[in-house]
Amino acid sequence: MIDDSVRVAVVGAGHGGTTVAALLRQHGFGGPVTLVGAEPHPPYHRPPLSKSAGGALEPLRPEAFYAEQRIGLTLGATVRALDARESVLLLDDGSRLVSDVVVLALGARPRRLQVPGADLPGVHTLRTVDDARALTGELGPGRSLVVVGGGYIGLEIASTARRLGAEVTVVEVAERVLGRSAGAELADRLTARHRAQGTRILTGTAVAGLTPAPDGRVGAVVLDSGRSLPCDVVLVGIGAQPCDELARSAGLECDGGVLVDERGRTSAPGVWAVGDMTRRPLAGRSGRFRLESIPSAGEQAKQVVADLLGLPAPAPEVPWFWSDQFDLKLKIAGLVGLGETTVVRGDLDGGRFAVFHLDGAGRVVAVETVNSPGEFMAGKKWMAAGSVVRPDALADASAPLRESIVEGAT
């Protein structure tokens, strides 16, 4: 537990890092807090970058916030080295930031396509507001976009690009979109919806390379079948990898992300970590997980601040995330893939439904919802409580949700 003589440096000014700094002050911590961000922009919301066109910067906090809260904001600064023993950070301008506690919140970066032509002009990835501006600046009526990867980023951009009038083709190597994170019912309905909006979706299709147009920009995506998809713009959305180089070179234990415990502690005393760059335990499950989501980063920020200030640990969370595509508000809680059976509530083709994933005992282990906030909240609550549901009652959308519960919280 720290007192106000302790200096805290938070490295990374995304959602996780900014939340750590804000929560420290909310809970009355009075010592120096410095928030170091690599981008020149003040901390901003990332989710809108793929969901809305134009790359508008939506600040996480108003400009006056940081001065009022006495949070030192150092922007446009990359940390080159961390001396974990002394809690000293070396910045790229040669300056040193000396602290007592370091919280790493460096996030993840887009995975790159490992094929010929992947670096051609016109080939984009999406993580930052600058990425979003560069990409959406190239989209519009008559433009042709190929999205490589049918994950959430790819589908959100496909939706945004259609709104902007671009022709869109999504190429996914697996047999269906969202293979890692969604069930078949949801993936199939989303695919149908994107197709109805004029997006071409090719599944079970790998990319062999990208070829230039006469002007030197990307001109086509070549599939492994040999078929060529002419295009003006490419977005690569094939996942992200943790920014753990600093942690690794500082000697922190890493394995596909910085390893932390349920309090956000790394293997080095004095160094904590949060967000997309970490792999961490989840209550009630074995192993460690690297979750890439705003709610996950927020939970870890709570865990770290509770640990630092000696507060009660936050209640175990149910992981969740959201996505917006066209007029569909998707909210997903739990981890799809742990379930043995699924129960559909609502009309799968009606634009408003929920898919509950149940384990062998009838407990909800995940829920995927489309325009169904009540089902989402109920499912999340039932997961937290370990409630057992009656599948037939749950499937009856005309019956109140609460009548589905056999035992546990309603």
């Binding site: 804000a22 002050r25 909310q26 809970h27 009355g28 919301h45 989710p47 809108p48 939506e58 996480l60 906090r61 108003p62 006056a64 916030f65 009022e68 809260q69 705003i294 709610p295 927020g298 936050p314 209640a315 969370e317 959201w322 917006d324 508000k329 909210k331 169904s372 906030p373 009540g374 989402f376 909240m377 109920a378 999340k380 609550k381 937290a384 949700l401």
Partner: protein, 108 residues
Amino acid sequence: MNLIKITFQDAASGARTVEVEPNGTVMEAAVLNNVAGIVAECGGGCSCATCHVHVDEQWIDRLPAPAPEEGDLVEFLDGAGPTSRLSCQLELTPQLDGLVVRTPHAQG
């Protein structure tokens, strides 16, 4: 523009009154002032239900009724009560000068 006062009551840290311009939402007023107990993960999209507040009974009838989406989110929210609202859906107006809300024990 005249500032208006909003009071956030918190079981752990007591009451805190902030003065803000009467535009934006109650959630934004809380975030600007780093009020404890308002998380607002989704930034005001009526998605995450982490900006839940209990509106003081004297004020609840002076607020516009919730849209169906907000009502559905709040119905199954842990710790929700009869005057629960999502503060990102409460637009500030000069008429809300003096509004009192209570933040819940935990969000989400």
